[in-house]
């Protein structure tokens, strides 16, 4: 008599649009210049980080300011795999995810003793400690950093094929490969989060975010949920970090553990786009990219403008740009609501 549905027309349309976009995105290197590919790589990797941070903060209530720890450790683990173990960089990327996962265990152990703002600062401190420790690692360049060796970059898995396919130089082929991997990663991460939110775990996550005490009282294991989300987010962030630094092929502790690049910008993207929605970070990363391109020549004015915009959005549109759009139009491109359908129930939300 009654049934549950999460399906909406907009959701189906989104699924089709995403499929088309992904296929077009895969084919793009045949037409686009190297500059466009590099820009898209930047957008896709920032979007991946933003979706992950949104899962943590927007759905899990875990406002971490220390995600750069996992970007950095993921990137360094990838470099270690290449330089110390002689692995192909592509195969060393999963090593980045694994290293971040391992680092996340002690991080969560300590940081979960803290709440709210203290948790945020705690994660940042742990990231700084990790940066200082990694800077002691002399074989990977210590404080000044290092580059991927020439024989490794010239021999990345699949680049021969790409060179033959698009008749491009080696460096451009590496960019195309990185771009493709970024596309796969962003689809996997966003799709994974979407799936998670529509699963039982998604309900539990929302319940814990809204009211921990009440969540426990209906049988939700709040502690385990927080652990699960934190570990998943760390591993995905580590993979992204490894991929980002495979593309640059150069690493230093300051770059890999940069709080502005890997956390502040990411928070900016999520906040202006709309926290707690999958659509928000997508919109946010586009706005961020446009601002970055437009203001790139203005030095510190660039950062100040970003800050002012973020403050304005927080004050006047706390649910971000997507929040404004969806409140006006009722549109949800990635519907996660479970609707009860049956007699006697009004149209609902």
């Amino acid at each position: 008599m009654y049934r549950l549905t999460t399906r909406t027309r907009a959701g189906t349309a989104t699924a089709i649009a995403v499929l088309v976009l992904v296929i077009a995105g895969m084919a793009l290197p045949a037409f686009a210049s190297r500059g466009v590919i590099q820009d898209l790589f930047f957008i896709l990797t920032m979007l991946t980080l933003a979706q992950i941070w949104n899962l943590l903060a927007g759905y899990g209530g875990l406002v971490s300011v220390g995600q750069q720890a996992f970007v950095g450790i993921g990137a360094y683990a990838m470099f270690a795999g290449v330089i110390l173990l002689g692995w192909n960089p592509v195969w060393a990327i999963p090593l980045g995810g694994l290293a971040a996962l391992l680092l996340a265990i002690p991080t969560a152990y300590f940081a979960f003793r803290l709440q709210g703002a203290y948790f945020a600062i705690g994660t940042w401190v742990i990231a700084e400690v990790t940066r200082l420790l990694v800077a002691q690692w002399k074989t990977l360049g210590g404080g000044t950093g290092t580059s991927l060796p020439r024989e490794a970059t010239s021999n990345i898995l699949g680049t021969d094929l790409i060179r033959a396919l698009f008749s491009v130089r080696e460096a451009a082929a590496r960019d195309i490969l990185a771009y493709w991997l970024a596309l796969v990663l962003v689809v996997a991460v966003t799709g994974g989060i979407y799936w998670l939110l529509r699963s039982r775990l998604g309900l539990a996550l929302s319940a814990v975010r809204d009211n921990v005490e009440a969540a426990r009282s209906v049988g939700v294991d709040a502690g385990r949920i927080k652990w699960a989300v934190f570990l998943i987010a760390a591993a995905a962030t580590g993979l992204t970090g490894a991929l980002i630094f495979m593309q640059t092929a150069r690493i230093s502790p300051d770059a890999a553990f940069a709080v502005t690049d890997w956390t502040a910008y990411v928070i900016f993207i999520v906040v202006i786009g709309g926290i707690g929605t999958i659509e928000g970070p997508i919109l946010g990363v586009l706005v961020f990219f446009v601002l970055r391109s437009a203001l790139a020549d203005y030095g510190s004015w660039y950062l100040m403008t970003l800050g002012l915009i973020a403050i304005a959005v927080m004050l006047f549109a706390p649910k971000g740009l997507w929040g404004l759009i969806s409140a006006r139009s009722g549109l949800h491109l990635f519907p996660v609501r479970r609707k009860l359908v049956g007699l006697k129930i009004e149209g609902g939300i």
């Binding site: 009282s217 939700v220 009004e346």
Partner: protein
């Protein structure tokens, strides 16, 4: 006995909020708890649900020692509760609130819980608002949701904390009818309430708490006739 408390005590610092409470609740009973503000009624609930752990004593549920068991484990065993101040999952819809409680409180797939949730929504008069976000509900509907969500966990023992408080006479009456129907189906109920006529119209026994101690337990008429209880309730509605 579905629930047994033996010499259960709880202190917050120097303050003893639960003082050697011993009580047994037979299966199917409705037990009311009264007492002045600060008597330790809600703490007693928290001790039974596991939201607070006892310093001393022993709590048995369905013959099992649950004194140290965490709240979520007790929910799965069949202890459901409502909160004095409604605590809905505000970002979720009414239906999703129940679905969460059903999927985690009983353990199972969401799809298998849909009919049970719909039935509870119907019984608590929330069916029309199933797809409304809980954060936008009125007080009456929030109270109903507290009850509905507790029911969705499939409780054998239902703990109600001042569910009638703050409601109008008419609203209260409807809610009492719902509770009576739930009780009639065999669910054991322990109910804290200041609205005495609502309470005494359902419960078979009353327990009086003062300064964390049980100062009386028995049939509502006897309890309300006792001098000690009258003194404690002086100034309150008797």
């Amino acid at each position: 006995m579905i629930l047994r408390l033996e010499n259960v005590s709880k202190s917050f610092g120097a303050l003893k909020v639960t003082d050697a409470v011993t009580v047994s609740v037979p299966r199917g009973e409705a037990l009311g708890i009264i007492g002045p503000n600060g008597a330790g009624k809600s703490t007693l609930f928290n001790l039974i649900t596991g939201n607070v752990l006892a310093n001393e004593g022993r709590i048995e549920f369905l013959g099992r020692d649950v004194t140290r068991a965490p709240a979520m484990e007790r929910v799965r065993m069949g202890v459901g509760r409502s909160f004095q101040i409604p605590q809905p999952f505000e970002g979720l819809t009414v239906f999703e609130n129940l679905l969460t409680a059903a999927a985690f409180g009983r353990g199972g797939r969401e799809a298998d819980m849909v009919d049970a949730c719909a039935r509870i929504l119907e019984e608590t008069e929330l069916l029309k608002k199933a797809n409304v976000v809980a954060g936008s509900l009125s007080l009456l509907d929030r109270k109903r949701l507290e009850l509905a969500r507790a029911l969705a966990t499939g409780p054998e023992l239902l703990l109600l904390d001042e569910i009638a408080g703050g409601l109008t006479e008419g609203e209260c009456k409807a809610l009492v009818e719902t509770i009576r129907a739930i009780h009639a189906r065999g669910t054991t109920i322990i109910w804290i309430e200041h609205v005495l006529h609502a309470l005494t119209s359902v419960v078979e026994r009353l327990l009086v708490l003062d300064f964390g101690r049980v100062i009386g337990i028995g049939a509502p008429d006897e309890i309300m006739a006792s001098k000690e209880v009258r003194e404690i309730y002086l100034g309150l509605e008797v």
